[in-house]
């Protein structure tokens, strides 16, 4: 397998990755890379990170066997990696803690972050409160309207939420605006990116802080199944942080990996966020990757019922894992995800996030093609409380 050699010393995953940013912030990326490389070599930093994950976020998160769901579905049995049980309700906090500790180590007092649905914004605001940092969260006007509850949570945590009215007023524009702010305030500000995207070293750094998901899963599964590895691992992919964290320990092992994108209303329509299935090579937010765009290179607006998957790009390592065929990427529609969310609720008493429901939906399909004595692990990246409003709207609209 060739994956051991990525990223190379220029921050490339094959042709993907790199640093496509204005000259003004190049020094900050170098400074960040040096600080990050030093930190992860430092035992004290790693112990601090592990301790914060344990006593602040409540790790390790459990690996729950979904008995009734597996039984009613048929085929392989399904295990859920319960990232929904983290503090603030999703895997996002792992990375937020890691980057905030790095910011503190670098002596930065201000953090900025972008957010779509508000989950990363809440995680960033949370760690800013915990470590005594100021926090500005950039959020599209349209998303502020759709996610009023998370906006209120961020403000409650002491963060400043900045409304972004440029472009299409969603996550992609919020990210542009956060980068613009970073260019202006780069000398004393840490940009806390929420997904495995952006210029190098961000994709590497986010993977490092999220790989706890995969390593815990591996040891928990081995303990239950007497040293065996799962027969398949499934995670949803927007920017791809929970997936890259979950896949990390398995990439070099003989375990089939599946990333699940949002097909929205269907990949054959114009309303989807299936970047790998339908996108082409291009540059977005500082990285060369796959993205949804016109033939002339204008970035197009994606669509998914799940705000966390509603992103026109994808982390460069996923683009690489797709190209090398190490990971199989599939797409699941809104309808399939909603159906899976209900099944999980009714059979297991777990309300998962709409993002995670995409992974559940695909694992239900996959399980049926596998044997009864085989096992699938699904990353349940977050809880669904934030989606209740969307679910209600959908139910009412559907009746």
């Amino acid at each position: 397998m060739t994956t051991a050699t990525v990223p190379d010393n220029r921050g490339r995953y094959g042709v993907f990755g790199g640093k496509y940013v204005p000259e003004t912030i190049m020094f900050a990326l170098e400074e960040l890379e040096t600080a990050f490389d030093e930190a992860i070599q430092d035992r004290e930093f790693n112990e601090l990170f592990q301790r914060e994950l344990a006593i602040y976020s409540g790790r390790p998160t459990p690996l729950t066997k979904a008995d009734r769901l597996s039984e009613s579905n048929g085929g392989a049995s399904i295990y859920l990696k319960r990232e929904d049980l983290n503090h603030t309700g999703a895997h996002k906090i792992n990375n937020a803690i890691g980057q905030a500790l790095l910011a503190v180590r670098m002596g930065k007092k201000k953090i900025i972050a972008e957010t779509g649905a508000g989950q990363h914004g809440v995680a960033a605001a949370t760690v800013a409160a915990k470590y005594g940092l100021s926090c500005k969260v950039y959020m599209g006007k349209e998303d502020i309207r759709r996610q009023a509850l998370n906006v209120f949570r961020m403000k409650l945590l002491g963060a400043e939420v900045i409304e972004v009215t440029s472009g299409s007023q969603t996550l992609k524009d919020a990210t542009n605006e956060a980068i613009r702010e970073w260019v202006a305030a780069v000398e004393d500000t840490f940009y806390l990116i929420g997904s495995a995207v952006g210029p190098y070293p961000y994709p590497k750094m986010v993977k490092q802080f999220q790989q706890v998901i995969g390593y815990e899963t591996e040891s928990q599964f081995k303990e239950i199944q007497k040293g065996k590895l799962p027969d398949a691992v499934v995670a949803c992919v927007g920017g791809g942080s929970n997936a890259i964290g979950m896949f990390a320990p398995f990439i070099e092992k003989d375990v089939p990996l599946y990333g699940v994108e949002a097909a929205g209303m269907g990949v054959e329509t114009a309303h989807h966020a299936a970047t790998l299935s339908k996108g082409s090579n291009g540059v977005i937010h500082g990285s060369l990757t796959k993205l949804l765009q016109t033939s002339e290179g204008q970035i197009t607006e994606p669509y998914s019922i799940s705000a966390g998957l509603d992103y026109p790009g994808i982390g460069p390592e996923h683009a690489y894992l797709h190209e090398t065929k190490r990971v199989t990427y599939e797409a699941v529609t809104d309808e399939e995800a909603l159906h899976a969310l209900k099944l999980l609720c009714e059979n297991e008493g777990i309300l998962c996030a709409l993002e995670s429901a995409h992974a559940v939906a695909y694992s239900l399909k996959l399980a049926k093609e596998m044997q009864k004595d085989q096992h699938i692990v699904v990353c349940l990246s977050g809880r669904g409380d934030k989606d209740v409003h969307t679910l209600m709207e959908f139910e009412e609209g559907g009746e």
Partner: protein, 268 residues
């Protein structure tokens, strides 16, 4: 180095390089605005290409990009616009200011060939730092185009030396951190930065980002060889939008008197 760059480089003036967005508010207006700028004394012209995600630009140029996009302006048409400018008599160097994704989708080689054939003199890619520009740099020299380098007050010293000594066309010095846009104040220590940039530079050193008044422009005469004005001019074009579409002759007159009010008296 072509003839147009030679004239630019040998000029003894404090060089004026305006930026306008292609297709804002329409293609014919871009042509007439370009010619007007040359008549007012512009030494070179930066022509922006509309892009959906211009992360180095502030709100004024973002809005200009939206207007350009509404006209279906794109990179290929912008390059072809330059041959129309040449047909209409424009003599100053023209630099295409484009984000990297647009270049990638058109194809770097296709772009460079088209640019060379259309009378383009340089390319500036704000999201392609030196570290990522090796291939484009090599291809630009094969096609007689200058790849314009940007340096910032945050550029490290050894990199500043390298970029300024290798610069072609002109060296673009960013006056302040942040995106393009009108500013009332500049960074402290800017003169030292400009001095350091000039030290190893074989081509004119231009200062840009935020300049919007005659006083601000005059402030850098002496420490730099020229200046770039973008957002202030683009904002004036925005104000004149409807006249530029329907009563162009009048609008161009107003535009020219605005440009004259902006320029240091001695540079014309």
């Amino acid at each position: 180095m072509n003839k147009r760059w030679e004239v630019f480089q040998h000029s003894s003036d404090y060089r004026f390089t305006p930026y306008i967005m292609a297709g804002d508010p329409c293609e014919e207006a871009t042509i007439e605005l370009s010619l007007a700028l040359e008549q007012c004394g512009a030494h070179a012209l930066e022509l922006g290409v509309p892009y959906s995600d211009p992360l180095a630009d502030g709100p004024v140029i973002q809005r200009a990009g939206m207007r350009g996009l509404a006209q279906n302006m794109n990179l290929e048409k912008t390059v072809k616009l330059v041959s129309k400018l040449r047909e209409r008599g424009l003599k100053i160097p023209v630099i295409i200011f484009t984000y990297y994704n647009l270049l990638l989708q058109l194809g770097e080689n296709r772009f460079l060939k088209l640019a060379e054939d259309s009378g383009v003199d340089g390319v500036l890619v704000p999201d392609l730092p030196y570290e990522e520009s090796g291939y484009l740099q090599k291809m630009c020299s094969e096609h007689n185009l200058a790849l314009i380098s940007l340096v910032s007050p945050t550029t490290r010293e050894e990199k500043l030396v390298r970029l300024s000594s290798e610069a072609e066309g002109f060296l673009y010095c960013i006056s302040s951190l942040g995106v393009t846009g009108i500013r009332s104040e500049f960074r402290a220590g800017l003169d030292d930065f400009l001095k350091a940039a000039k030290q190893n530079c074989r081509v004119p050193v231009l200062v840009g980002f935020g300049l919007s008044t005659r006083e601000q422009i005059q402030q850098f005469d002496g420490s730099s060889d020229g200046f770039i004005v973008g957002s202030a001019i683009v904002k004036k074009i925005e104000e004149l939008e409807s006249d530029l579409l329907t009563n162009r002759e009048e609008a161009i007159k107003t535009f020219k008197s605005y440009i004259e009010s902006l320029l240091p008296v001695y540079s014309r």
